[in-house]
Symmetry: C2
Subunit: 391 residues, 2 copies
């Protein structure tokens, strides 16, 4: 048996050495603070729905934590991105640049606006948009017309650029923001996975015109289901609140709505959970970093695989711990998935690349060498803080 | 002072005699059962999000309660209607008949499909679609072509008909279903307000191809935010679950999505609340009926105003108690609103009619005499079960 053939079992052993005997989930929430207290408070107040102090408090505390001037709590990350894109000016017939390597919600949100996703390659260092490659691509394939970036091939306006901070690792924001400025693209950051992740000391999701967060059950903190829109612009924040609350105009009793709005507000019950979770966030982040260090120790001894570390000058939340097989080991990708899952350790590959999914197969895309390579080599391994005994 | 001038204060007195001294809200939830227990169980299980036993249980119990073969729990009533309309075949460019007298979510959901709402008049007896008037209108303004109902004026397909059971009072379903059959319209029932309401012994929301419910905080039972899709068709139920859970194909680890889906699933945390609330529903309905009877006693003595009673052969949930001023008293409508709200009793008029809202002003509509009359005479009065001491 060659060394290579042993890789799947070596990965199993390296995981087992950190998380103990299985079964171990990919990512479980941790409720060790005031979750129960606040839920009870919400229930006892009878304010469980769209109005209530926990929504206001959660929004204020999210703003404080991220450094965004405003945060608007909504029902999930996809809803947050849908509204953020609308507020960024994305309309029917536009194109929006997004990474091919992302969760489907990014592409869906573009579609909800009647726009077309346009897929961009990723960098191995960040797993996010490769800014240099995007600049080369746009230089060749787009032209500026009347202040807009036009896709030469389709004739459509490329309105916006959506960097995704994959698994919590910040994108090269200096590079991405420079490309956006150069080509007149509005930046909406999909920070669904990166609460607690910083780029040069600034929280992800606060670089673009708008940013979005997710608090789904598998995220670093959860509200059951939930999301938020971040922005520094008071007018955009007001519009975000308006659009996500059925666009109802304030009045003592009148029900008048001035545009087509959405029922995207976060219920107070879910915000109560969020407030308690946010209090726990520093401890959760410390535990996730500790988990990374423990994996680092065991995976140092496994040849042919790299544990993904935070990019330079970044602090990552280490939402999902990520292995990258060497190119030469890519053929063992599925065997590693089978061996680990068979051993009771839930692992998973990257999402199917967006341009490979039926609804997006005909969308424009650049050449996606690295995204394709990453999708053949990438494996997420158990990432719950619960497996770190210190927490 | 004439009798007429005294109406606002007479209404205040009639409300006060039933609900006591204010302030009294329009509709508050009541949590007197296992709400606390189930929420804690959901939290302790750590399954607060998209997977968990309370979602399955809530769906099964909703199906049992309503008599629908299938119920799919979603994030709110607007999301339920959006997906139900899609599954009914509503696509971009279609028209959908909906009452002008409804909450804006009905019209918004049509817009989310890229379709155009087409507004229909209401009947005074039910506050819902006037079937006879609709038949006359369609006879003149539509034609059948290739099995489709075409709007003669716009040339668009009128695909579906959405009866709304306003404030819980069932529509004339015999009449509405007959018109739908005659004109080849798919029926999707908006039963957002009518959980616990029956037409000839059959639960509302189970007559159409699909029906939708809402569990918003102001509804008869609440999940914080939530809704459900009802149907008797297994294939539609499967598609509803698929579309509301990002259209992900089942796989041990792969993330493949075969169409543009939505993150519309109800979190387990909210379903836990729903399970407890559903247990309370019979008591809540009894209390709402008792409240109606008490109002009946006090409003019998007030001339010029009628308390809305359930239509013949119907059981209404009496979600929102409703006053209708006589035509001659319509001019006192705003004075009654002011007097009651000033006295601490939250009352409100009907929603602004849909064709009067900016986003829908250019949509097709029939002549809306009764809807306009109702909107000038209708007032909802405090309807919480909490004001009935017996509960």
């Amino acid at each position: 048996m060659s060394t290579t053939d042993q890789l799947p079992q070596q990965v199993v052993a390296a995981i087992a050495a950190v998380v103990g005997t299985g079964p171990v989930a990919l990512h479980e929430p941790s409720f060790r603070g005031n979750e129960w207290l606040y839920l009870k408070e919400s229930l006892d107040s009878t304010f469980v729905s769209s109005v209530g102090k926990f929504v206001d408090r959660f929004e204020a505390e999210l703003a404080t934590y991220t450094g965004a001037k405003y945060a608007v709590a909504v029902v999930n990350g996809a809803a947050a991105l849908h509204i953020a894109l609308k507020l960024a000016g994305v309309t029917a017939g536009d194109e929006v640049l997004i990474p091919a390597l992302t969760f489907v919600a990014t592409a869906n949100a573009v579609s909800y606006c009647g726009a077309t996703p346009h897929f961009v390659d990723s960098s191995e260092a960040t797993l996010g948009i490769d800014a240099a490659k995007l600049r080369d691509y746009l230089t060749f394939h787009s032209e500026q017309r009347g202040g807009y970036c036009m896709n030469r091939a389709t004739g459509r306006v490329i309105r916006a650029l959506v960097p995704v901070h994959t698994f919590g690792h910040p994108v090269d924001l200096d590079g991405v923001m420079a490309v956006a400025e150069e080509f007149n693209l509005v930046v909406v950051e999909d920070a669904a996975e990166s609460l607690g992740s910083y780029y040069r000391g600034q929280h992800t999701g606060t670089f673009g015109l708008l940013g979005t967060l997710s608090f789904n059950g598998n995220k670093t903190i959860t509200t059951g289901g939930g999301g938020a829109i971040l922005t520094n612009h008071p007018q955009l924040a007001r519009q975000a609140k308006h659009l996500t609350t059925t666009a109802k105009l304030p009045h003592r009793w009148e029900y008048r709505h001035d545009e087509i709005g959405y029922n995207y507000r976060m219920p107070n019950l879910n915000a109560a959970l969020g407030c308690a979770q946010l209090e726990q966030l520093p401890d959760l982040l410390a535990a996730k970093r500790e988990l990374f260090k423990r994996y680092q120790t065991t995976f140092e001894l496994v040849q042919g695989v790299t544990l993904m570390a935070e990019p330079a000058q970044c602090l990552s939340n280490y939402w999902l711990q990520t292995l990258l097989l060497d190119d030469e080991q890519a053929e063992l990708h599925d065997q590693v998935l089978v061996a680990t899952n068979d051993a009771g350790y839930m692992t998973r590959p990257s999402w199917k690349l967006m341009h490979e999914l039926a609804p997006f197969m005909d969308c424009p895309c650049m050449e996606l060498t690295m995204a394709q390579s990453l999708s053949q080599r990438l494996i997420n391994i158990p990432s719950s803080v619960n497996v770190v005994s210190a927490v």
